[in-house]
């Protein structure tokens, strides 16, 4: 089990580790004697902390002991103690080391009391998701084993941990130097009947509960090694929590697509029928769906993750430049990655005073903050309270990991209700018995939604009609859907009431649902609309597979910020415009080139 040991500088971390090693007989032969002799030769009093230094020195000479990692064994289990640096300048390294731990020992000097790093480290541990913390009140011999001193520290630090929602496993009064309550309680402290450090370590429970949580696997990649003569299509990833079996129904978020596990693939061994966290794996699916890296695979029978593009978070910042509102960063969660900016900084914990302020907007290096983040695309996650593993994200600034955080709450974004409807629709959808690729083969085309937009009177509809004719003549199944046809038909109940924002979205939603049906039928659907906004396209893409949408802008762009697949600036010649669009459709394999 990996344990990280943290605390303020000189509060005695190394002495505690040294004592643990000696009292559990975990040192290499002759090591203790060698260090003692060294001390005598240099007229220095022996200190247990020297053992750690000696082990580190040895490593630089090439013997197999890790500098930041100390190995020791008890009858119960093997431990790796990660010695995290106490200096603030090394916070980056402390986080790197501590993130590999399952539990923590936090050392506080009884003589000095709670210091800034005692608190900062406590806070960082809770952010990193290490919520098993045992607090060692060290150097009790220097305060004459005073119960009063001990209890002041216990109540002060417990109050601090409470603020950050951490419940310490226990407090242990110790003396590293004299070996008091490290491995045995000899009643040196008469009023203390509790655990020793070794007991406290034994009480930490291993992360085995990750298997009992719902299945969560970020899709790392979809492999198809056809060039090596392998036709399997394998969805690869590392299972973060839970387990999955052959035959399980899977959902992929944020796309909301559905399939079933056909096999669990392995190299050079018998295929298992079930696999659990924290394994890496590869799954083949019984129904082929188009998914990519970044989706979160979950089981249809289990609790669904949250999906939104607005989140309430706690984050710590490590970047040299402060994190500021109105600037774009990248957020990575699982294998997903999207642009992010601060919508609102709720409060910031000052790194020096450890006081919260709610007037600050920017987050400086080594500061911790609570803020609302706005993402450019929805992500799938769980809240930290439900599943810490899938609530963790990092923030990238200028190619560097510059911050990290956890998500506390999913907030509604403009597309939430549309998305939720789509997930239910996908789940309830009765699939046709004719697979999509059979339909595509028969019709000689891949179904798609072609959206032609632009300013008023730019000739969109003329071009769309000409395109419909041309493709029809080519033998394609294409249909031009006039917006009016939808407005007075499907939208009759809400027509003219579109003052309310949501009803505008409702028009778009209904159009997109029609498109979804027509695409499923194998048809190429052609739609024109005046001056579509990115937010409109985002809603359409929530409802219709984004891979099957082509957007074309006709005429002057003006101030439109919409990203399209094709721009036709000067659409004077209708036939020419139609040919350009046809080229695009061939390039995207919606229609095939004549020679294929």
């Amino acid at each position: 089990m990996n344990i990280v040991i943290v605390g303020h500088v000189d509060h005695g971390k190394s002495t505690v580790i040294g004592r643990l090693l000696v009292d559990t007989n975990s040192l290499p032969d002759g090591k203790l004697e060698q260090v003692r002799e060294n001390c005598e030769r240099n007229f220095r009093p022996f200190e247990y902390a020297f053992l750690i230094d000696a082990l580190k020195d040895e490593q630089s000479q090439g013997i197999t002991i890790d500098s930041a990692r100390v190995f020791f064994k008890t009858a119960k289990r093997d431990y790796i103690i990660i010695d995290a640096p106490g200096h603030i300048e090394f916070l980056k390294n402390m986080i790197t080391g501590a993130s590999h731990a399952e539990a923590a020992l936090l050392v506080i000097d009884a003589n000095e009391g709670v210091r800034e790093n005692s608190r900062r480290h406590g806070y960082m541990l809770s952010m990193l998701g290490i919520n098993q913390i045992t607090v060692l009140v060290n150097k009790m011999d220097l305060v004459d084993y005073s119960r009063e001193v001990y209890e002041i520290i216990v109540s002060e630090y417990t109050a601090f941990l409470e603020q950050i929602n951490v419940k310490p496993a226990c407090f242990v009064p110790i003396s590293g130097t004299l070996g008091v309550n490290i491995t045995e309680n000899h009643k040196t402290i008469p009023w203390y009947n509790g655990k020793t450090v070794l007991d406290a370590l034994a009480d930490f429970h291993s992360m085995s509960d990750i298997e009992d949580k719902p299945f969560r696997m970020p899709v790392q990649d979809v492999y198809k090694f056809t060039r090596f003569g392998d036709s399997r299509r394998i969805v690869a990833g590392t299972i973060l929590t839970g387990s999955v079996s052959v035959g399980d129904e899977l959902l992929f978020f944020p796309s909301g697509k559905k399939s079933r596990v056909k096999s669990i693939e392995v190299f050079n061994a018998q295929q298992p029928s079930t696999i659990a966290a924290p394994c890496t794996t590869g799954l083949t699916l019984s129904e082929q769906i188009y998914i990519t890296r970044g989706e979160l695979a979950v089981k249809a029978s289990e609790k669904k993750p949250c999906i939104t593009s607005r989140i309430k978070t706690s984050l710590f910042w490590l970047g040299r430049k402060p994190m500021t509102p109105h600037r774009d960063y990248y957020l990575r969660i699982g294998t997903d990655r999207t642009q992010v900016s601060i919508e609102k900084t709720l409060r910031v914990l000052n790194a020096d005073t450890l006081q919260w302020t709610d007037t600050k907007e920017t987050i400086e290096r080594h500061e911790v903050a609570e803020c609302i983040l706005q993402l450019s695309n929805p992500i799938a996650f769980d809240t930290a309270e439900n599943n810490p593993m899938t609530s963790r994200f990092v923030i990238i600034d200028n190619f560097e990991i510059s911050g990290g955080g956890i998500i506390h709450q999913d907030l509604n974004d403009s597309g939430s209700w549309v998305r939720n409807g789509v997930y239910t629709r996908n789940y309830k959808w009765e699939k046709s018995g004719i697979p999509g690729d059979h339909r595509a083969e028969r019709l000689g085309q891949n179904a798609a939604m072609i959206i032609i937009t632009g300013k008023k009177d730019s000739g969109k509809k003329t071009i769309a009609r000409a395109l419909e004719n041309r493709l029809f003549d080519d033998g394609k199944v294409i249909y031009f859907l006039g917006i009016g046809n939808v407005l007075y038909g499907v939208d009759a109940d809400i027509k003219g009431r579109s003052i309310h924002e949501n009803e505008n979205i409702e028009h778009i939603r209904r159009l997109a649902e029609i498109a979804h049906i027509m695409i499923d039928a194998g048809i190429i659907l052609l739609v024109t609309a005046i001056d579509l906004q990115q937010s409109d396209i985002d809603i359409i893409k929530t409802i219709v597979d984004p891979q099957k949408i082509e957007t074309i802008w006709i005429g002057d762009r003006g101030t439109s910020g919409l990203t399209c697949d094709l721009y036709i600036k000067n659409p004077k010649n209708i036939e020419e415009s139609v040919s350009i669009i046809k080229d695009l459709l061939q390039e995207k394999s919606i229609i095939f080139k004549p020679d294929r």
Binding site: P28, D29, Q59, S60, Q61, G62, I63, T64, I65, D66, S67, A68, D78, K92, N93, I95, T96, S99, L128, Q220, D221, Y223, F225, F228, D230, R232, I234, A236, T238, E265, V266, F267, N268, P278, C279, T280, G282, R293, L318, Y330, R332, T335, R392, V394, I396, F399, E400, I401, G404
Partner: protein, 293 residues
């Protein structure tokens, strides 16, 4: 899940992250036990395939059996094999065995410089052609932006400071003091143009773990690692003028594991047979900062 399984899973995750994030990715294969374990993990990660090239730097002083073993596996496992060499230094005899320079300078010439210039595509790369069973000049001269390496943290001091994803600048230099943080399975996979990343999936493995894994998975290794009756074997493989066999009776993987666990190798450094490590203190860290593996 036992410790080897844990190590295996972390390594596979890292190899897949590298493959997903780097278009021009390669893996260094020294033919030694560590990078061969790495190659095996790659085949596990990709269900039997190795979807990126393997780069071997041939100093021309490698023990001949190593080259035979390399080409045999390249053939059997369908590997995209790339070989690079410092032809100029060899032609001008600027090497330690030629008596021209010391060991560290020789490593710099035949390994570091050959490696840097093979990775950046400035020097000739030879590529194994499976159809004609021979090496020919590779037409691809694009620089590799991600390089997977079999370094382990426990090998020697400088390697214990490495991260899983460790950035190198345009000159392959390594800034030991200011490395990016790594946590929650998130690594440095974003990088500025002109820089490249070294990826270390075996960082958490020890020498003992490597041998235990070789035994468990039955991975083929070069016979130089084993004693064939003369009481000598290689513990670490390199160029023959600078690598000496150690005294050991171990004839197979099991005996090596026992020897490492409880026998006479329990507390002796692995690279003790490598002369260049001893030539000057800190020599390896200097070489590593310059781009040595």
């Amino acid at each position: 899940m036992d410790h080897l399984d844990r190590l295996e899973n972390i390594s596979i995750h890292i190899i897949r992250e590298a493959y997903a994030n780097f278009k021009n990715l390669c893996m260094l294969w020294s033919i030694g036990k560590d990078s061969t374990v790495l190659l095996w993990l790659t085949r596990k990660a990709f269900f039997g395939h190795v979807p990126f090239p393997l780069v071997h730097i041939d100093t021309a002083y490698k023990i001949p059996e190593m080259i035979q073993y390399r080409d045999r596996l390249a053939h059997e496992w369908n590997l995209m094999m790339i070989v690079g060499q410092n032809e100029e230094a060899l032609e001008q005899k600027l090497t330690f065995p030629d008596g021209a320079i010391d060991r560290i300078a020789c490593c710099r010439n035949l390994k570091t410089r050959a490696l840097i210039n093979t990775l950046n595509g400035k020097w000739k790369r030879l590529r194994y052609n499976h159809r004609i069973n021979a090496y020919e000049v590779d037409r691809n001269t694009e620089p590799y932006t991600g390089v997977i390496v079999g370094a382990r943290a426990d090998e020697e001091g400088s390697r214990s400071k490495e991260r899983y994803f460790s950035p190198r600048d345009t000159y392959s230099e390594w800034d030991v003091g200011d490395q990016p943080p790594e946590f929650w399975n998130q690594f440095k996979t974003d990088f500025a143009p002109g820089t490249h990343l070294r990826i270390h999936p075996l960082l958490d493995w020890t020498e003992l773990n490597v041998w235990e894994y070789i035994e468990r998975e039955n991975i083929p290794t070069v016979s130089l690692y084993y004693n064939h009756g003369d009481g000598k074997r290689y513990r670490s493989l390199g160029c023959w003028p600078c690598t000496n066999p150690i005294d050991s009776k171990s004839k197979n993987v099991r005996e090596i594991i026992e020897e490492l666990k409880s026998g006479n190798l329990k507390n002796i450094a692995e690279r003790s047979g490598r002369a260049q490590d001893r030539d000057d203190g800190g020599g390896l860290e200097t070489l590593r900062r310059e781009g040595y593996m």
